[in-house]
């Protein structure tokens, strides 16, 4: 049986180190190797970038309001407790000669003093906690009322929908997303793959029902990306399609230039 070369062994372990999926013993082995091998650290850094992006690949899930409220109530209490720590009782050193009676008297007095202070501290804490409970009860009532309002409104609320947008033959690499609640009068438009235009020209966004209506001018960055909030006096879901054309700098009343993106909005 041959013993595996440490370099080869660590190279096999590195991806799982980056994925945080090694047992303690294996992790220790890798870390000891990394300490002396900068080239392995470079490899790991490269893999780590890919691994650390993985959480973003999971669909985000909107947390219920109650989670944040409970967390922040807990944090607020903790912050207040840290801001007002209980005082420590440090007995004064005695210079008198030791005697049992004096020691007993001192001990009794100290015990009584500690007990009294402790009671005062406890009373203060109880009072503080009662106040917190009252505050939290108030918040709970407010949240219940808000929740009822939300529940009442739920039947009229539509989900957020994202529609994919595609470039025309003029700019086939262009693409984007329109993210909107169909009943809302605003939406987020995310575009990529559109080249920056020469001075004096601009992209113009059109919402198209029976006729195209300007939804704003769009400027892309050097990477061809842009994000635009579209607002409208009519529900976004009432339009049939979305287009983007190249227009003069000030924009046009109707599309006059080349159409670079045109997509159906029937999914809304």
């Amino acid at each position: 049986m041959t013993t595996m070369d440490p370099r080869q062994q660590v190279e096999e372990l590195l991806p799982f180190y980056a994925l945080d999926a090694l047992c303690d013993e294996e992790r220790k082995l890798v870390e000891e190797y990394l300490a002396d091998h900068p080239e392995a650290r470079q490899q790991l850094e490269s893999m780590g970038r890919a691994a650390s992006a993985l959480p973003y690949g999971v669909a985000p899930v909107e947390p219920p309001r109650g989670v944040k409220e409970a967390l922040m109530a807990r944090v607020t209490l903790d912050a207040e407790a840290q801001a007002h720590p209980s005082r420590e009782i440090s007995p004064q050193p005695s210079r008198r000669a030791f005697s049992f009676e004096s020691f007993f008297r001192a001990f009794s007095l100290a015990t009584a003093a500690i007990a009294i202070i402790w009671v005062l501290i406890l009373n203060r804490q109880v009072s503080h906690l009662r106040s917190e409970i009252t505050t939290l009860n108030g918040r709970l009532v407010e949240q219940s009322e808000s929740l009822e309002q939300i529940l009442q409104n739920l039947p009229q609320t539509n989900p957020i929908i994202s529609v994919s947008l595609k470039g025309t033959d003029v700019q086939p690499q262009a693409q984007g997303q329109l993210i909107a609640n169909p009943n809302d009068q605003s939406a987020v438009l995310v575009i990529s793959g559109l080249p920056p235009l020469e001075p004096g020209r601009t992209y113009q966004v059109w919402l198209i029902g029976d006729a195209p209506v300007s939804a704003g001018l769009l400027t892309v960055d050097e990477n061809g990306r842009s994000v635009l909030i579209i607002t409208s006096e009519e529900a976004i879901g009432s339009f049939n399609s979305l287009g983007i054309s190249i227009e003069p700098q000030a924009g046009s009343e109707q599309p006059t230039g080349e159409i670079v993106i045109l997509s159906d909005l029937s999914e809304l």
């Binding site: 190279e11 945080d20 992006a53 944090v75 994000v227 029937s266």
Partner: protein, 218 residues
């Protein structure tokens, strides 16, 4: 859905300039970085923790839910994750990695622990049946539009990169990262040789990195 067509053809009164993303852009330029907020959390400022929560709670809950497959358990993990951030922010060292790497590692480990304590079937992170996760869930409404948009873009970039991997490579990544399985457990579960699992994990991470670099993922 019955569509209400724009039958009148009356142009909407849209102020073109007002459509620009001014407020969120200002937010981006003025907002504190994750690391700066983490430093404030370490100094005991709840407002900083709240800002971090608003930015990342939806992603943390998404990860927790994928790992545990249980909504209530995932919400517990979410709260515990940010509680750990609150209690141990002073231990976070920005020179050893980004705040999000640290945050997501806490969430993932808590979720895996919670899952192992309660045997609940986890969900696949990516499956061919997934039509578009953006349609299913949207980020916390407390996030501003720019943050929501960034999150949506990052989600799309990573999912596109994951979708480009061969299924066998993606499976290894999922099992290791989201289910906390060791390489030996993965080999046993898939019936493949350990060497094959090593190769798949290495190739998967390399390809993911190349894809994300190509898309200028930040």
């Amino acid at each position: 859905m019955a569509k209400n067509k724009n039958a009148t053809g009356v142009p909407m009164r849209i102020n073109k300039e007002s459509n620009r993303l001014r407020v969120p852009e200002q937010d981006i330029s003025q907002r504190l970085s994750d690391e700066a907020l983490a430093a404030q959390v370490a100094q005991g400022q709840p407002v900083a923790l709240e800002a971090l929560y608003d930015r990342y709670a939806a992603t943390v809950l998404g990860v927790s839910l994928k790992v545990t497959g249980d909504q209530a358990l995932a919400e517990d993990v979410l709260q515990e994750t940010f509680w750990r951030v609150w209690k141990s922010a002073s231990g976070y060292q920005s020179d050893r990695g980004t705040f999000t790497s640290w945050l997501f590692r806490i969430a993932r480990n808590l979720a895996i622990d919670a899952y192992r304590r309660r045997s609940v079937r986890p969900q696949a992170v990516y499956s061919a049946e997934d039509h578009d996760p953006i349609l299913e869930n949207m980020p916390d409404p407390d996030m501003n539009v720019a943050e929501q948009t960034q999150l949506v873009l990052k989600n799309r970039q990573v999912r596109t990169a994951l979708a480009s991997l061969p299924q066998a490579q993606r499976q290894v990544i999922e099992m290791a990262f989201f289910h906390g399985m060791t390489r030996q457990e993965i080999a046993e579960a898939t019936g493949e040789a350990l060497g094959t699992i090593h190769t798949r994990a290495r190739l998967a991470l390399q390809k993911l990195r190349d894809q994300l670099d190509g898309e200028e993922f930040e």
